[in-house]
Structure formats: structure tokens, C-alpha cells
């Protein structure tokens, strides 16, 4: 489809560790459309961060992208040279991280860090020290504009502050404004609100929505928090143990979850309105990714397990327009 920005096709990313091969992402496919916020949700260790890092190309030893395609604007990113990937990284595809407290370099000012990015991608100057003064001033003005865009209080002062002088929320705003300074097409946000207070969370999510409106960017929002998904995303993918088990419009997912795992997840959320006897939980625990269960990785914990579930891994199948499930219950062969 012409408005698909990024298409991930059968991605496999493994980590070759001393204990064995960790199959962190084992056959993941989904796409992100222009101007949409796509959520990737799952528990800790399900492979969502690895997926994000694979897209932006920051998988390090002992990890490797083993197979698959990541097609961005018609090009397979995995076939590009590192040079070419770096041109895209930070310019067209940006990423913000979970811990705003530590994601910024403590020895440089906010301004310097944003200006550095602008100099790199707009002027091709990698070393900020080499840039002429007027150019730096120019970029600094731009940076202040960006800070205003994310509604940073007192941007002229913040620009010359060090990260430790700002609160968590302000730091995350700074990160967002920095990573959007080059007007990328896709922003990957890896758990951007997990480390923040609920009120600050709301502010940041608002900013993200705001940016999507103002700049027309797509956002891949990774989180384990279903309420965030509900608030902000257009579509969502559910990951479990390195695989995508369900993709749907957000509303559809919450209204009509299909995959047993998704069902279990939603049921496990403590409800504000209803009071139950016990909180429902999914029995069992997250599998070892070095020796994952055979067939469908969820089968040991599934109430609806069938014999075929042990033997064959179910494929993602479109059971309704825009709603995909990977489960033998729904005829995935």
C-alpha cells in the first residue's frame, strides 16, 4: 500500500551468548503507515526493544540480525552500508529511550546536544567543535524553536542547561525535541513514559500526539502499559516471546481481543470500575528464549492448547479486515 512507511518482514534477530543462542526476535512482521501511531506491546523480554533496535540498526555484538527485511521508503535497510544507514539514523528514523535521566550526555548542555544533531544531518559536520560560530548560532535558534514546539518552559534558559539541572519530564521533552529536530518520518519511542510519574506521563503522551499532528510523523510506540496503548495508538501489535501474536486497530483490540494471550493480558489489568475477588493472571511464566517451547511459544500457558499447538508455529492470519491473529484457534496453518 502506498501509505506504508515501514515494512518489517519476517525479522529474525538472535543473540549469540555464552549460554546459547537467544532467539529474541524470531519471525516478526508488521508495517507502519504514514502518520500513524503504531503501538508494540508485550511483557518485559518479549523482544519489542530488540525489534526497535533492529529497525534503527543499533544491534551490537553478540546480537545479529539473521534474516528478514526492513523496508523503508522502498529500500531494504538491511542491505544498506553502515554509512548509508547512519544517514538515515537520526534524520529520517529517530529513537527516544526509556530513561530520560540517563539518556542525555551529562557533560554537554541541551543546546549543544541538539545543535550537534542539526549540524550533522543538515550541514554534514560531525564534530561540533569544527563548526563556524555563526552556523552554530543559527542551529541554536532552531533548537530553541524545537524546544518551544514541545512546550518546554523557559526554552532560552533550558538550552544552556545541563541535563542534571532539569526534571525527568523536562529531560524527556528535550529528548523528544532533539530527536524531532530533523523532522524524521518515523520516531521510535521505546517505553518513553515508563520511568515517569503518571501526570508527567500524560504530558509526554500529549506532546507525542501533538507532534504527530504538527509534523505528520509516524510513531512506533513501544510499551508494556496497555493504558498508554489505549490512549495514544492508532493500531497495535502484541508481542510474546519474540513473535507477534496479534495486530489490530486499537479500538478493535480492546473491544474484541482474539489471541488467548491478549485476552489474558487485558483480563489481568486491575479494573477501576469492577471489583473482583481475585486478580486474574496468566499461569506459568515467560519462556526461556534460548530453548523456547516448540510450535506456538505460548502453548504451555494457554488454556485452549491443542495438540497442533505443540508441533507447528501458527502464522499471522487476517481474520477480519485489519485484524491479524497468530493462533491455531483461528486457522493459522
Amino acid at each position: 500500500m502506498s501509505d506504508v512507511l515501514l515494512k518489517v518482514e519476517d525479522l529474525h534477530t538472535y543473540f549469540y551468548t555464552y549460554e546459547g543462542v537467544v532467539k529474541a526476535v524470531d519471525g516478526v512482521s508488521f508495517d507502519i503507515r504514514k502518520g500513524e501511531i503504531f503501538g508494540l506491546v508485550g511483557e518485559t523480554g518479549c523482544g519489542k526493544s530488540v525489534t526497535a533496535l533492529s529497525i534503527i540498526g543499533l544491534i551490537d555484538e553478540p546480537g545479529r540480525i539473521v534474516s528478514g527485511k526492513i523496508i523503508y521508503k522502498g529500500k531494504n535497510l538491511l542491505e544498506l552500508s553502515e554509512e548509508e544507514r547512519r544517514k538515515i539514523r537520526g534524520k529520517e528514523i529517530s529513537m527516544i529511550f526509556q530513561e530520560p535521566m540517563t539518556a542525555l550526555n551529562p557533560v554537554y548542555t541541551i543546546g549543544d546536544q541538539i545543535v550537534e544533531l542539526l549540524l550533522l544531518h543538515e550541514e554534514g559536520i560531525a564534530n561540533i567543535k569544527r563548526a563556524p560560530k555563526e552556523l552554530k548560532e543559527e542551529k541554536k535558534k532552531k533548537a530553541i524553536e524545537m524546544l518551544k514546539l514541545v512546550r518546554m518552559p523557559d526554552p532560552e534558559r533550558t538550552i544552556d542547561s545541563y541535563p542534571h539541572e532539569l526534571s525527568g519530564g523536562m529531560r524527556q521533552r528535550a529528548m523528544i525535541s532533539m530527536m524531532l529536530a530533523t523532522k524524521p518520518s518515523l520516531l521510535i519511542a521505546d517505553e518513553p513514559t515508563t520511568a515517569l510519574d503518571v501526570t508527567v506521563q500524560a504530558q509526554i503522551l500529549n506532546i507525542l500526539l501533538d507532534m504527530k499532528e504538527k509534523l505528520g510523523i509516524s510513531i512506533l510506540l513501544i510499551t508494556h502499559d496497555l493504558s498508554v496503548i489505549a490512549e495514544v495508538t492508532d493500531r497495535v501489535g502484541v508481542m510474546y516471546a519474540g513473535n507477534i501474536v496479534e495486530i489490530a486497530d486499537t479500538y478493535a483490540l480492546f473491544d474484541n481481543p482474539r489471541h488467548p494471550y491478549t485476552v489474558g493480558l487485558l483480563q489481568a489489568i486491575p479494573s477501576v470500575t469492577e471489583k473482583k475477588e481475585e486478580l486474574k493472571y496468566i499461569r506459568g511464566s515467560v519462556p526461556n528464549l534460548i530453548y523456547p517451547p516448540s510450535g506456538c511459544r505460548f502453548h504451555p500457558r494457554c488454556d485452549y492448547m491443542m495438540p497442533i499447538c505443540k508441533k507447528e508455529k501458527p502464522k499471522l492470519v487476517e481474520i477480519e479486515p485489519g485484524h491479524y491473529v497468530a493462533c491455531h484457534l483461528f486457522g493459522g496453518e
Binding site: E99, L104, P106, A126, H164
Partner: protein, 323 residues
């Protein structure tokens, strides 16, 4: 804070030196001196007075610029220190000038190419530096570069520059435009500086490596890479800048330590520095000299600590001065 530390050091050294069960006057006078001479010495240096009186004489002298009379050299302690301290200082500076850049570079290479060949090589190099007896290294360098190759001299500081301004030969040679002595002095300092630098270089490498490894794991490095910055920039501008903070403070203290007088290096290369002087002073119970050297060392350490603190605050904006 500085003054109490320095005073404390002098007090302790003073007490220890004078508590040794031996008669310094007898040792100073020499074996053949008649008893009257020994007694004369005792009188002159207040050795018959109680300790606190002697201490008072000492401190009041220090403040007036009279650091006592060095018996092992028959001239004022201050004169001796003015001779020997610049020699040690010059040697130490050049040793650090080698140790720091090379050490940091090897540490960075090690960290970035972790567990690959460059890392293994540089770790072996660093380990050898820490475990190799400096004595042995010095002699080895003399054997190779002097005896076999004849490239460098084996002893001394070289030709004295025509005018002495600072006591640092290379600087003085340049200032007095004495190129013959400049050449000689550079040639003479190379082997001892390399010898002296080796252990510190090893320490710098290890510290930089571990510091870098820690920093490279941090989130802001991920951010920097996510920005699309080339690896060189990420390593040197983002990672190293942070990793250097603990490393340079170690370097500052190492410098102060080396200044204490690298006795072994100075002995092998006949470098007339503080190390040899201090050693000689101790073995001849030359108390004023011992006190002088200790006092100087205390002052140096205090200054070094101060500089390190300032450096720390400068490098790391999270730390504020004046606390």
C-alpha cells in the same frame, strides 16, 4: 583544609624521625670525630632540648625560609631541594607526557575492540607495566638503546644550559637559546622518562579501559549513536569525555606520587633528583633533609589534590566547586 594537613604531616614525620633510637649528632659527625665535636653539633641543633622546643625552632625556621641545614650535603636544605626538585619535576612531567596520552589511547582501543586482538595486546602490555620491576626495565632499556644501539646516553641529565631560570633543563635550554645543551638534555631524558612512565601508563590504560567500558554501556551512548553520529565522534566526544573524569583524577595523584622521587629510576640513570636525595638523607639520618623533603611532598600532595578537585569540577558539570 590544606594547612592542617600539612602541619599534621610535619608533626608526624618530626616525631618519627626523632624517636629513632640512634644519636643523629654522632652519625652526622662521622666516625673519626672527637666527642667535643659531637657535643658541639648537639648544642647547635638543639638536640638536647625537649622535642617540642626543637619542633618550634623547626617551624619558625620553615616560615622564615630557613629549612634547616642538610648534613649529608653540608649546605642548606632549601639549596638542595632547589637543585633536586626541578630535576625530578622535569623527569616526572615527561614521564606523564608519555604515560597519559599513550595510556588513554590504548585504553580506548582496548575498550572499543573489547576481547579482540588489540584488546589482548594492550592488556598484556598494561599488565607487564604494572608487574615489571622498574629497575629491570631501566637496565634493559640501557642495554638495548645504549650498549647495543648506542642511540641514547645511559646516565645524567646532559649538558647544563648556559642560564638557569627554572632548573628544568629543556625549558632553560630553549630560554637561553643554548641548542647544544637542548639536544643533549632531550637525549638524556628519553630513556629515564620512558622507564618512569611505564607503570603509570599501564595504570592509565587499565583505568581508561574499565571506565570506557562502563560508559559505553550507558544510555546516552545509545542516544548518541541513535543520532547517527559516526563512531569516532561517539567514542571520543561522548564516551571518552565522561570516562576521563575518574581517569584523570587518578593521573593527578599518580603525578604527585611520582614527584615523591622515583628513587629507582633516578638511581639507574644517575638522575640527580629528590628520590636519591631523600634516600640518602634517610640512610644518614639527615633529619633536616628528611623533614624538608617530607614537607615539600606534603605541600605537593595538597596542591595536587586541589588541582584534581578543580579538574573534576571543570570536567563534570554535575559537580560544583566550593563545597
Amino acid at each position: 583544609m590544606l594547612i592542617p594537613v600539612v602541619i599534621g604531616v610535619t608533626l608526624i614525620t618530626f616525631t618519627i624521625a626523632y624517636v629513632i633510637p640512634a644519636d643523629p649528632a654522632r652519625a652526622w659527625a662521622g666516625q673519626k670525630a672527637p666527642p667535643e665535636v659531637v657535643e658541639q653539633i648537639r648544642e647547635k641543633y638543639h638536640l638536647n632540648d625537649p622535642l617540642y622546643v626543637q619542633y618550634y625552632y623547626y617551624i619558625s625556621g620553615l616560615v622564615r625560609g630557613d629549612w634547616g641545614y642538610s648534613h649529608s650535603e653540608h649546605r642548606p636544605v632549601l639549596d638542595c631541594l632547589m637543585d633536586y626538585f626541578p630535576a625530578t619535576f622535569e623527569l616526572t612531567i615527561w614521564a606523564m607526557a608519555i604515560a597519559i596520552p599513550v595510556g588513554i589511547y590504548l585504553g580506548v582501543v582496548s575498550a572499543v575492540k573489547r576481547n579482540k586482538i588489540p584488546d589482548h595486546l594492550s592488556r598484556i602490555f598494561a599488565l607487564s607495566g604494572v608487574s615489571m620491576p622498574i629497575f629491570w626495565l631501566g637496565l634493559l632499556l640501557i642495554l638495548i638503546f645504549y650498549t647495543y644501539l648506542g642511540w641514547f646516553p645511559a646516565s645524567g641529565r646532559g649538558i647544563t644550559p648556559s642560564h638557569t631560570y627554572t632548573g628544568l633543563y629543556i625549558l632553560d635550554s630553549i630560554l637561553s637559546l643554548d641548542f647544544q645543551s637542548l639536544a643533549s638534555d632531550i637525549w638524556h631524558i628519553i630513556l629515564p622518562a620512558v622507564t618512569l612512565s611505564y607503570a603509570t601508563l599501564a595504570v592509565m590504560t587499565r583505568m581508561t579501559r574499565s571506565s570506557m567500558l562502563e560508559v559505553l554501556r550507558l544510555d546516552y551512548i545509545k542516544t548518541a549513536r541513535a543520532k547517527g553520529l559516526p563512531d569516532k565522534i561517539v567514542i571520543y566526544r561522548h564516551a571518552l569525555r565522561n570516562a576521563l573524569i575518574p581517569t584523570l583524577t587518578v593521573a593527578g595523584l599518580a603525578f604527585a606520587g611520582l614527584l615523591g622521587g622515583a628513587v629507582l629510576t633516578e638511581t639507574i640513570f644517575s638522575w640527580p633528583g629528590m628520590g636519591r636525595y631523600a634516600y640518602h638523607a634517610i640512610s644518614t639520618l639527615d633529619f633536616p633533609a628528611i623533614m624538608g623533603v617530607t614537607f615539600l611532598m606534603a605541600v605537593i600532595f595538597v596542591i595536587a589534590n586541589l588541582i584534581v578537585d578543580i579538574m573534576y569540577a571543570y570536567l563534570d558539570p554535575r559537580i560544583k566547586l566550593g563545597e
